[in-house]
């Protein structure tokens, strides 16, 4: 199976989701080389991917390419995919991948499968599993056309280092047709000082059980002891206690952290929709019958006002934070 992975630079290397996508590609490729494409990145950023098994990478140079101009990037990715004749293109299911992958699928006449949580190579055909109906069911899907474009839910595929490959890079200059119309980025508002739930490894969320915004320091302190981001249920966002960007769930963000701690959250299905693929789920709730406990790995039946400070102290002893 010949696979092209669309990568994103970050810091000295790549985004974690890019390493995850490479790992998933390597395990599906059945020995075939996995190729990458990246926009406005340096060779040294790309070279960080060799330990994950990436064989080669096309780099599209130029600062104009670091902007999310989805029509241009999609056109370039489709051109690259055609030039090296791959059957499969993989993206992360983040804002970048979600905007570009559908366009690439249209350009390549490929089947599109988004938000995958499992990928398999079934005798040369890519088969994917994805959650549907807010995680209440899962479907196995495959493309019925020759090509497939997939996006992978962040944090579900664990990036694994392999034997370092000798990664070769080459410059790729796309030929964007003059009639391609795109939306362009004119500015970026960054949520200052807060770790975003969609990028956090650990999330501590608070719900209506906290009784008021003035008690959220309990959640924040626990988050601090874990180096975690703060999340919230819709009930507390709607009440104006917390900003919408912290909302986890169907109408908020879909997250899949290594650990999700739900404090005073009942576990309504729309909340579960956003966090049920978390690796470890911890719940603190005074109602032993709260639905959140049915999805919890570890649960503490108790009052958040008493439990959270004790939990933060006990965790700090272990983490030193």
């Amino acid at each position: 199976m010949s696979i092209l992975v669309v990568l994103e630079p970050s810091g000295d290397g790549l985004k974690r989701t890019s390493y995850e996508a490479i790992t998933a590609a390597v395990s599906c490729a059945a020995g075939a080389p996995v190729q990458g494409i990246i926009f406005d990145a340096t060779e040294s950023q790309v070279s960080s991917a060799s330990i994950y098994g990436l064989s080669s990478c096309m780099i599209v140079h130029g600062p104009e390419w670091n902007q999310l101009q989805s029509s241009f990037i999609a056109s370039a990715v489709a051109e690259a995919a055609t030039s090296i004749d791959v059957t499969t293109v993989i993206f992360a299911a983040n804002a970048y991948g979600k905007s570009i992958a559908p366009r690439v699928a249209v350009r390549l006449s490929a089947g599109l499968i988004t938000d995958c949580v499992e990928l398999q190579n079934n005798a040369g055909t890519l088969a994917a599993v994805r959650p549907v109906y807010s995680g209440k069911a899962r479907v196995s899907v495959h493309s019925v056309t020759a090509k497939t474009v997939v996006t992978l839910r962040p944090n579900v595929f664990t990036a694994k280092q392999t034997v370092a490959t000798s990664l070769s890079t080459s410059a790729f200059t796309p030929s964007i047709a003059s009639d391609v119309r795109t939306a362009s980025v004119t500015g970026h508002i960054i949520n200052e000082g807060t770790l975003d739930v969609s990028e956090a490894d650990i999330i501590v969320s608070g719900g209506r059980g906290l009784k008021g915004p003035e008690h959220f320091h309990l959640v924040e302190n626990l988050a601090k002891s874990l180096g975690a981001a703060v999340g919230a249920s819709r009930a507390v966002v709607d009440a104006g206690w917390r900003p919408h960007r912290e909302q986890v769930g169907q109408t908020g963000k879909t997250v899949s952290p290594t650990m999700y701690v739900a404090c005073g959250i009942s576990g309504a299905v729309q909340h579960l929709a956003g966090m049920s693929t978390s690796k470890i789920i911890v719940a603190v709730n005074k109602d032993k019958d709260a639905p959140i406990f049915t999805v919890a790995d570890y649960g503490i039946v108790g009052d958040v006002f008493e439990v959270l400070p004790k939990l933060a102290t006990a965790i700090s002893t272990v983490t030193g934070k």
């Binding site: 979600k98 899907v141 169907q250």
Partner: protein, 248 residues
């Protein structure tokens, strides 16, 4: 400005899901269907843009006969016309997107408004697909929007913040919660909407590009270690997180 709003009908999120006899779709008996919550924001956005710039709002859905219900809601909220593209089998996103793009090629709207995602398959596929089919720009997950002449400026929610984006009409946007609060239709409007005509069209003849081979209910592999709130219990959970789960 002529506006096309795309909406879908989805199972109510609290509905219990079971796998139907074919093994690939849900058992629809007893399932309550609702207007996709994000599409309420889309309808409202269409109506607001009409309010600011004049023109018409047309609402379209691709679905079975019963999907007329969501079109009636859109009509009651103030949509001028409604179109049902008949699709008894709920086709894949490519067929849905093609049907919308074909309609747009004929009706030539200036703006197509979608919801951020449909909450049945949460696929985030249709808006950029339609935009690509039409050769238009699109701005996803829009939480603030301004249109001036043919200039569109919008804020798009992304991880860790918002992007300020610009594009020109004709263009596609998808509405995020917070863009505009949907209005509640008034009773007389609900009554009037019941007798308004709904245009019916045939589904695009393109073939689907994906196939579902199996549907299953997720099995819980959770540890379910539930304890009380004594100091010993709390310390034990922290020990397990450290030594068993190895997450701290």
């Amino acid at each position: 400005m002529n506006i096309l709003v795309c909406i879908s009908q989805v199972p109510d999120t609290t509905t219990k899901i079971s796998v139907g006899p074919d093994g690939t779709t849900i058992n629809s008996t007893g399932v309550k269907y609702i207007l996709n919550p994000y599409d309420e924001f889309a309808i409202e956005t269409g109506l607001r843009m009409k309010g600011q710039h004049g023109g018409t709002v047309t609402t379209i859905t691709i679905g079975p006969e019963t999907a007329k219900e969501v079109l009636r809601t859109a009509l009651a909220m103030g949509s001028d016309t409604a179109v049902l593209v008949k699709d008894p089998s709920r086709s894949d996103s490519f067929v849905v997107a093609s049907s919308i793009a074909e309609y747009a090629q004929e009706s030539k709207p200036d703006l197509i408004v979608f919801g951020r995602q449909s909450i049945d398959f949460d696929s985030f596929q249709i808006p950029p697909m339609v935009a690509e089919m039409l050769g238009w720009p699109d701005i996803a997950t829009v939480s603030s929007l301004n249109i001036d002449g043919t200039d569109v400026t919008a804020e798009s929610d992304v991880e860790g913040g918002k992007l300020q984006m610009s594009a020109s009409l004709p263009c596609v946007i998808s509405a995020q919660k917070g863009l505009y609060d949907p209005r509640y239709p008034k009773l007389p409007d609900i009554m009037k909407a019941k007798s308004k005509p709904i245009e019916e069209r045939a589904l695009s003849t393109v073939s689907p590009r994906t196939a579902i081979t199996a549907m299953s209910l997720p099995e819980s592999k959770r540890l379910n270690t539930i304890v009380g709130d004594s100091d010993a219990d709390i310390n034990e959970i922290v020990r397990l997180l450290h030594e068993q789960a190895k997450v701290i």
